[in-house]
Symmetry: D2
Subunit: 298 residues, 4 copies
């Protein structure tokens, strides 16, 4: 727990974020996640429930999203909740369920890590470590993630400027871990009709300024299922590299954020609509074989 000597000249020189800048890697970064590539021409969709709640719920949802063409399975086992009395996630037993479901359906998994102490467990069993909006400036956690060599999905903070978002990513890259994916999930504004305000211009801005892949979470951003499809298509058109979407087999029974989960049917419909928009911006849904395959399939 030694600190920095303030008379160390380094303490006064303050280079800005630079490892995250596009100039550092003009061609853009591609993050490999269990056989899936994020940040290349293929557009990657991560879907699943807000929280892992039990075997049946997870199996139904995982099967549905896999069948619809999702590339990764998401599911929270440690849940950051505003109230200490709200469902806090299933923890390690939930993680085991998630791992099993991912394996059964051939999907890499992504799950949120809230504390440094959870890192060994989560890093061993998940394919992407998700940092939630409330932890975007949990600098101890960012530094710990920088010491890993494991993909990290860094959500933008509720009221983080885009510059602060890049700076937070810089903490991870500065530690030597370059596998960072940015995720826009809506910012907090005066508007109350939607849960947050989805800032798609921030996606285009981040793609211009940084080489890191940028994906969009339209579920938390809007909180309204009927807006998820138009916002997903808009994200694709804006140049995002993928989506993170909440899907629940039985949204009305969800323990967490059920009101914003897509039904499996609506998710499947979205997956059928994405290729057209992606093609218009010279992208395609990711496949192991690349775009030609997709083009043939249309």
């Amino acid at each position: 727990m030694g600190g920095q000597q303030p008379d160390d000249p380094a303490a006064r020189r303050e280079p800005g974020a630079h490892r995250v800048l596009r100039a550092a890697r003009p061609e853009g970064s591609r993050v490999q996640v269990g056989g899936v590539e994020v940040g290349g021409p293929g557009f990657v969709v991560m879907a699943g429930p807000c929280a892992v709640e039990g075997t049946e719920q997870l199996e139904l949802t995982a099967r549905a999203v896999a069948h619809a063409g999702a590339h990764l399975l998401r599911g929270g086992v440690f849940k950051p909740r505003t109230s200490p009395y709200a469902f806090q996630g299933m923890g390690e037993p939930g993680l085991k369920l998630l791992v099993d479901a991912g394996r059964r359906h051939g999907l890499p998994i992504i799950s949120e890590v809230m504390e440094t102490e959870q890192l060994p467990l989560m890093a061993e069993h998940t394919d992407i470590l998700q940092v939630g909006a409330r932890n975007m400036q949990n600098f101890g956690l960012l530094r710990a993630l920088g010491r890993l060599r494991k993909p990290v999905l860094l959500k933008r903070g509720l009221s983080a400027t885009v510059q602060e978002w890049l700076n937070a990513a810089e903490y991870i890259l500065a530690g030597g871990n370059e596998q960072v994916i940015l995720c826009e999930r809506g910012i907090r504004t005066f508007e109350t009709a939607m849960r947050n305000t989805l800032d798609l211009a921030a996606v285009a801005w981040a793609k211009e300024k940084s080489h890191l892949p940028v994906i969009v979470d339209p579920s938390h951003a809007t909180g309204l299922p009927s807006l998820i499809t138009p916002m997903s298509l808009a994200a694709a058109a804006a140049g995002a590299d993928g989506l993170l979407i909440e899907v629940h087999a039985k949204p009305e029974q969800a323990l967490c954020d059920g009101q914003q989960a897509m039904s499996p049917e609506d998710f499947a419909s979205l997956m059928r609509r994405l290729p057209g928009v992606l093609a218009a911006v010279d992208r395609h849904l990711w496949t192991p074989e690349g775009p030609a395959q997709i083009a043939g399939a249309r």
Copy 2:
């Protein structure tokens, strides 16, 4: 200047906005503007300089946007400026230039009206009366516009909720003028990297709640020319009915907001990219002949 009697029962009954709701016209409204239809399957692009500055600037810009396929010519002659000492617009002489340029290039024109006193002049010579963000709750102006039978483009206020935006439109419809087009132009948030925060979810929300056409102004929303193309494509994918874009033949010489104007070349490039995204959401750039023509052109 008589008022309302507070003991009039009507003063206590307060119906919410209802004329603007989709339930009032489930099939959606279409606004006819000098031969162009806004709100139907055709996507409408309005482009031109922030402010009319002179004959040559306007002619160069009008010619460029017409050539690229814009459907209306925009140009401010009365400019709301934060400082009383900033260029306030050319006024009536500017309007004449705008009318002439529109006629030369076969484009209907849209221009901002700031005060009730400007209405007779502006209503006679323009095809759409634009209400700026700062006037969204200028209720006297809204009421006066309600008494006209003329298309109105109502920009969302800088910090107006989507519900307040609909309520403002209701003021116009309540007066009997149903030719209202909504325009999302970004809201004011903590983020400073962009001029405003473009709220595309508000577009999808407004399309769901209301029958009114909704267009997007990516120029004021972002203030950054490099973001206008991705945000225009995203707006199209999100279900917007059109765009309002600032184009300037010589952005570096503009008297007003030049830093956010697109060059004619970038605008032409955007116009070539829009049809692909529109087709993916079953829309097309507006043409007098409708979609078949466009489909053939692709």
Copy 3:
């Protein structure tokens, strides 16, 4: 309706706001209002109902605030309402009631003007013309107010920066009317527990940067009667020159914003608590005779 020639060099020179700056009048401005001085050492309290609703309501409220020591009577007769179907104010008949009530109780009156067309009537009969938050950048109205020689109270816009607030005042001063009082009334933020977020630092900032008097409206700022007393005392401690408070003899029957009106009893209690805080910052409640009188009364 002539405009500005853009090739006029003045159109390119853009001096910032300067007439409003403290440097222009280091000793500070004092605005005389029907025998009351705003901006000097005396602290001025304007109180009354949100809207004039009828003879009895107004008389009860006016008598109560006069008795408690208020210096001006407020009351809206033209009301800016979000919905076109909400009570829009009594108009001219309401103004007559307000004038009569002010005269009966020896209080100058302040009332909101929403449109240029209302100016002749309102300027003739009121002592201060109030510009509401939604009209802070109604530049036509500001220019018309600049041509008068009459006190204007300029409320800060819902999402106006403090610099834009000063710029709006500059519009009025640039026209030759120097009798401007600024009013902070809360800004729009993400917080929903209060109606707005009262920005008292903006008061201290404005007092430092500008010579204009600055008062505070804690009623609209908080929307919660229980917060009005602490925020009024805080405003006095922060250096404000006065208060604008909604008081209603029967808040539960108010046609407009009753939920945020103070009761006459709470208002009287606040008036008894203000002198102590004011004395601590070398101020006093305004009296015709000045501070000595007050000091003796304590």
Copy 4:
């Protein structure tokens, strides 16, 4: 790392925050800190540098604030910085300097804890553990603090609603640690003239809803030294229980936030002005002997 069983009925029942509510302790909480009481009639001032930078800087500042009448010494040794390359604090050696300075001047100390791993060290040596705005919803840290029996100062998050702020405190109380002090430090809004927007209405709101003491940090809230005095007086008038102020013996040489630090002279002047405002709201600067002593001293 076991989690919660979602079929546990407790996972579905979600009581709101209740331990923090005033109803739970109507008389209000008083937190004892090294001989000083926070939350009683005595108003408590915590002052010192943003960061501990070295022996001389700290000694000069500590001596000045002690001499002026501060009750606690503040100083960061672990600093949350937006950039990974900015001065991150002196760590444990800095803590030792802070402890020594506090002891020399008879002042209990308060310092920020950023991570659970720092807790044993910080809990042993500091008198109050400060949780910064960026960690207000670092739930792991909050839970760890709940297991201690040690005063915690919980800053409001940059964009936390007042309800979320109380919920965050509930996390600590739910763990059994009731010694929580809330601290308002400004929220993030569109305004850029000040560093943040100080929300004093939130102080009055929190005092009404909760029994916890509430103090104000005007340094981070405004970022402008000239506003610290008026905002400190306003906080006292609004009912705050104390202040947390950045003072630096040589602000222009500070390694961290020097631009917002008060000079020792200005701080001493503020300390002389506080008693008057406090007396007006029936409070006094805290002293071991209570108010009578103070009254005699004025």
